[in-house]
């Protein structure tokens, strides 16, 4: 029976690896990245996937092999009477320690790019989350918020392609999270705080804006869209919004 059990456990690394390798081909993996900085996230993800993948296969296969080899029914050797090995302990402490430390230092730059090094540009829009919608406000021609020419919209954020976009993120009520899966952007919105979010989209198109922090019963339907367009279309869109706004006033 021990042989069957060890083969049963061998299924874990085999099926586990096959699934992960096949997943991208079936689009059950990281979604398409349309941002300038998102590759850093994907690169780190894959870098960690390689390291953990090797450890995963190595340890799971070792588990299988030891189960196979040291099955009491098949193994006529007596059990090894050993309490451990100082050398081995040092090796398998230091090796992962160095790897992990490298991993930690290696990623710091990407984090800084995404969350610390705020770009020196004027905010393109202010996004205010509330139960259960995204309120968008553009500063208008004067480039300043809280002036009469501010332009308002709901659930549709239009940004120009190939430009660094800075968003001021706020919440009116509870916690929300501003999640753009295709741009590798996520940031919680906190009531009482203005949090900067930035990205640079490199491909035109419509993308999901997802609320990723539980915000109440309607959390699932708090859906917005990010529309990435050319500079001209962006200007035209704002002018159109502005005209509509004046017409209704």
């Amino acid at each position: 029976m021990g042989r069957i059990w060890s083969l049963f456990f061998l299924l874990v690394p085999i099926l586990g690896t096959i699934t992960i390798v096949a997943a991208p081909y079936y689009d059950h993996w990281l979604p398409k990245d349309v941002s300038a900085e998102g590759y850093q996230v994907d690169h780190l993800f894959n870098f960690i996937l390689w390291i953990t993948g090797i450890v995963f296969i190595g340890t799971e296969v070792a588990l299988f092999w030891f189960m196979w080899k040291y099955d009491a029914e098949k193994n006529d050797q007596p059990a090894k009477y050993t309490h451990g090995s100082h050398h081995l302990e040092i090796v398998w402490t230091l090796l992962p320690a160095v790897t992990l430390l490298f991993m930690a230092i290696y990623q710091m730059n990407a984090w800084a790019e995404h969350k610390i090094k705020k770009p020196q540009v004027a905010p393109l829009a202010e996004v205010t989350a509330r139960q259960f919608e995204w309120r968008i406000r553009y500063p208008g021609p004067d480039g300043k918020f809280d002036t009469p020419d501010d332009i308002y919209d709901v659930n549709l954020l239009v940004v120009p392609v190939d430009e660094v976009v800075l968003i001021n993120l706020r919440s009116m009520d509870v916690l929300h999270s501003f999640f753009l899966p295709n741009l590798r952007v996520k940031q919680d919105a906190l009531p009482g705080r203005v949090i900067p979010v930035w990205f640079r989209a490199v491909e035109q198109g419509d993308y999901d804006l997802v609320c990723a922090e539980l915000c109440g019963w309607g959390h699932y339907k708090m859906k917005g869209r990010l529309r990435v367009v050319s500079r001209e279309e962006y200007e035209a869109h704002l002018q159109k919004l502005s005209r509509e706004q004046e017409a209704t006033q």
Binding site: W5, F8, F9, T19, A23, H28, W29, L30, F45, I48, L49, V55, F56, T59, L63, F66, Y70, P78, A79, K80, Y81, T82, H83, G84, S85, E89, W92, T93, P96, L100, L101, M103, A104, Q107, A110, W111, H114, Q131, D173, V174, S177, F179, P181, R184, V185, Q187, D188, A189, L190, G192, R193, Y207, V210, A212, L214, G216, W217, H219, Y220, K221
Partner: protein, 598 residues
Amino acid sequence: MSATVAEHGHVERTSSPVLEFLRTYVFSLDHKVIGIQFLFSTLFWLVIGGLLALGIRWQLAWPWTPLPVIGKLLFPAEGGQMPPEFYTMLFTMHASIMIFFVVIPILAGAFGNFLIPLMIGAEDMAFPVLNMLSYWVMWPAFICMIASFFVEGGAAAAGWTAYPPLSAVEAAAPASGAGQTLWLWGVIFVGISSMLGSVNYMTTIIQMRAPGMTLFRMPMTIWGMFITAILQAFALPVLTAALFMLVLDRTLGTGFFVPEGVIINNAQAGAGGGQPLLWQHLFWFYSHPAVYIMILPAMGMVSDIVSTFSRKPLFGYKPMVFAIAGIAGLGFIVWGHHMFMSGMNPYLGLTFMLSTIMIALPSAVKTFNWLATIWGGRIQFTAAMLFALGFVSMFIIGGLSGIFMAATPVDIMIHDTYYIVAHFHYVLFGGTMLAVFGGIHYWFPKMFGRMMNEFWGKVHFVLTFIFLNGVFYPMHLVGAAGFPRRLADPYHYEAFAHLLPINQFMTISAILLGLSQLIFFGNLFYSLFWGPRVGRNPWKANSLEWSAPSPPGHGNFDFQPIVYRGPYEYSSPEVDEDYYPQVQPPPEKAKVAEQPAD
């Protein structure tokens, strides 16, 4: 159970039979009875928590379709389909029940209570009355949580993390009014119970070890329980304070966690002047160590089981102890990794990233030592051993996937997605629950003097192992695709619409996983009454509990246990058998012992 415990119970007392029954089985001071009370209570909640999970899975596989069997009963107005606020309540209560009523109390309350005095050679806990209270304080918690399902608006629906302002302002979550407050009180009572247990375990382990039982002769299970108790003692007060502050925010309008200018339904809400991030810091200051409270005792149990059935000493005993201590120590400075996206200072994120990455190190050391323990052994594939090996196999996955979210830039993508859900279910179900099943198979003979059925135990193992991977492994994939947690219907997003079929696969696996547990419960209850009776040491194991009668009577040992060696002396060249119990005198000492003692 009743017949066997009564044989050794305190039947010599003379009082009315009703009072006697209450003292022996209900308000018992005996750590074994209290442990068994914890065991059955937590198994009951495991069923409830599991059913709630199936409700979640139903909605994710067939959103807005009538819930089978009970749908029409629960939601007559909606034609049997669950409303989104019910879904929100489901995942909140599933997590709360599994964490606070199942995993924490089954490890510390059930196994901790039963095993600590037996494994260190004590008659009972240091404070038996406190011990009894630690169980009975769970009941107000049970009542709060049960009652919360029936109050207006239903049970809590702000997630098990109860982030304010959602959890603090009633207007923010109209679906849960009194339910959220009852939830907070329930968790406060669980905390009191854990604290009573923790103080007792620490005192017992420090003060009441049998002669010769030095700290470094304690089995790993005891080390796991000991360090868990220390974690509880230091982390719980912080959670309790936070819970009381949130109760006050809700009931008296204090405003610890609600900032100025919160507007809900066009009206100012909450007192203002508070800070939602404060709750997250306080909550995770407890709840991150709680993650280790939910795994360290399981790691200890697995170490014992793996060593016993490999017939080989545990590889690297001291490194294993230091690894547990290291996990516990580091566990106090990693809580911020739950908050990378929260709006906390991003520089702070970097420091938490560093400590979080390093906590993978002791976990790796433990895994290597388990593997080295079975290397060169003579493995007996009992049901308990299979579950323990299953733990190792699954913990590797759960441990490695943790490294992804420790990496702050990667966390931007996977935070609050199913990747996280996959990770903690691999640790808590693939890890802790498999260890619990293994532990029940392993110590059942000691608890009840009868064996569980090995064949059905293995069938249960195979099915559980297959279906748990069927449920949780694909969560890595959908998580990497950005599939968020806690959405009642994610499929109306363009990015997630194609993930419906794989979710249906997970749900079918979940239903089968649930059904497989019937085998376990059948085996458990059948064996309680009709399992074959066993002697003291059915597994030929070394630690002290196996020298006591099965089940042990009041006072545990019918002799004074004296400990001569560590608990892992399997296949020792000093003796002919492949085990060498901790109480067996060494050959030269045996001669001395034969002479009459003075």
